[in-house]
Subunit: 193 residues, 2 copies
């Protein structure tokens, strides 16, 4: 499968920001049970090897897991400060747990665990449930295995169906809309900013 | 009316980032007609004088205007890179147009227009409709008046009802949830990160 045409813009933006850690963060919007928007910062963990899916990781206990089960549509908003570029990536989320039927995805989950820093892995070992009132119980767990993911560790894949690319530098600004067709081919159209 | 307790954290973060223009940008999530999340970068234009509402500006022709009319709930996600702070601000949006019945809000809209840069004001004079296929018609409009807003210029107010404040620096991270009660008073609880 060929690489989607919008990917080169993101890859170039990442290259232009390679020494800025937080340029790998984007904001991921989902919908709550009450039909309200939820929005949080996540860390981009690369593209899926076979398809143009964006990888992030999450804790099975986090609120977005329930939100996604109910409504898998999401929109990522990714702003690159140095080059004044914004990508709005609309797509479907899928959660990859340890028992995923697809062996390739199971391996991708394990590889994502192994690529995390020790500090990031340790966050999955914190015992108190995220979002619940703070308890005084010890939250200094032992360092988890660097190879074998904890059960609550999930890989989360965002499969884009539309990418709205806005280049803010210049007057007027420039904007392109990439849409995925029924045959998984991508079209692009320049649109008014 | 007293200032909401979470505001001091945002104001201190802004102070800590005062020379970083893009620290005043945050991502605003809304819900589309198709019940999918939409997410875009907006510019913080300050707090409302009387209440703790966040001010942004928008074009009456932008997609979010229709989304808000149907579903006014929104969540802003605001990440401050230097201090590793994230604010997730859940609230209700209201759109302030020229004909708003509240004179104070009409004046606030006009003041927001006057505070824009010339370049920002000019964006509202672009004639082609945003998001539509690019037309070749001239998009070099005359510079609009610096005092009198164009009719399509809107002030957009986000009235928070919940603020989830995450401080990522430190191990473990720290997180507080501010909730607005029925009497418009705010409570705060430390929660698990």
């Amino acid at each position: 499968m060929s690489v989607a045409p919008w990917r080169s813009h993101i890859e170039r933006a990442l290259e232009n920001h390679r020494e800025i850690t937080y340029a790998r963060y984007f904001q991921l919007a989902t919908i709550t049970r009450e039909n309200r928007p939820a929005n949080r910062t996540v860390v981009f963990r690369g593209f899926d090897a076979e398809r143009d899916r964006l990888k992030v990781v999450t804790d099975l206990r986090s609120e977005k897991v329930c939100q996604i089960a109910r409504q898998p549509w999401a929109e990522a908003c990714w702003y690159f400060p140095r080059t004044w570029e914004q990508f709005r990536i609309t797509g479907l989320l899928s959660l990859i747990q340890a028992d995923n039927a697809d062996m390739g995805l199971q391996q991708a989950r394990q590889a994502s665990w192994q690529e995390l820093s020790d500090a990031a892995r340790k966050q999955f070992a914190w015992s108190p449930e995220p979002g619940k009132p703070k308890t005084e119980e010890a939250i200094a767990p032992p360092q988890p295995s660097p190879t074998e993911p904890l059960p609550n560790f999930c890989l989360l894949l965002l499969e884009p169906v539309q990418v709205d690319y806005l280049l803010l530098r210049g007057e007027p600004q420039q904007r392109w809309l990439y849409c995925r067709g029924d045959n998984n081919d991508w079209s692009v159209q320049e649109i008014n900013p």
